[in-house]
Amino acid sequence: MLEEQDIRAFVYGTTRYFEVAAQQAATVGSPYLVTEGAPDIHDYNGVIAVSGRRNGIVCFSAPRGMLTVLLMKMNESNVSHEYLCDLVGEVANTIAGTVRRDLGKDFAISVPTVVAGAGNAVELPVGERPVVIPINWRSHVAKLVVCLR
């Protein structure tokens, strides 16, 4: 089972990005367990692989609209696919950095990879049920998918 402390570190890394980079806090929705298959994901996904005390993946999955507005809030006028990929990777990078600091030696965290585009899929550990934590910011909702064994 995932421990609350582990989840909290991943969530904090995510919400911190919005609070600091966009100067506008995000709120956390009610987490839910995906009981069948893989969760639906958005267009842009920053994925980090976790190993050590727990193994699996953590994915920050965001819709194009959210990332576009986030870039604009950061005074960036270039909202091209390349920049949206960069941004989702940066959010995942922040999650990785926060987890590495807060959970330290018990976890090894990979460099984030970005999965983007229609029909994309994130590979989840076989047999594990992912937890999805909604991240609400302005009128947009991203998903933090945590799938660790």
Binding site: V20, Q23, N75, E90, T94, G97
Partner: protein, 131 residues
């Protein structure tokens, strides 16, 4: 009688190194230190060294996790080329061990990602103020 020379703020050349377009442009656009003039941007350590040779910057902002050559190795090489260069690490790797390693290689400051415009400018001001 000599005429009074106009007061000129000494310019310091800034090189921005980060593999993210978003972060490179953010630093370039948000930095408001009058003394700093951006002379180049690089997306990895190898490119940074090439541009460093061409532009001879005084100040560098440096990401750590980058392809081809990471920031820690790049810091070591830049400091070997120009020991007085001022280097601000700008990284999401928020753990103490990473900061200590970067400082040991010759970096002068550390700014965690994500950062606000104010945090960036304070970190740069502290970096050049302490020179």
């Amino acid at each position: 009688m000599a005429r009074n020379a106009p007061f000129l703020t000494p310019q310091l050349k800034l090189l921005i190194v980060d593999d993210s377009n978003v972060i490179r442009r953010r630093i370039e656009r948000s930095q408001q230190i009058e003394q700093l003039q951006v002379v180049g941007v690089a997306s990895n350590g190898v490119e940074a060294i090439e541009i460093f040779r061409q532009t001879d910057p005084d100040v560098v902002t440096m990401d750590i996790t980058m392809p081809r050559m990471d920031g820690i190795e790049c810091v070591e090489q830049l400091v070997a080329m120009k020991p007085q260069v001022l280097i601000l690490i700008v990284s999401a790797l928020a753990d103490k061990a990473t900061a200590v390693e970067a400082m040991a290689k010759g970096a002068n400051g550390f700014l965690n990602k994500p950062f606000s415009d104010r945090q960036l400018n304070e970190a740069l001001a502290e970096l050049i103020g302490g020179a």
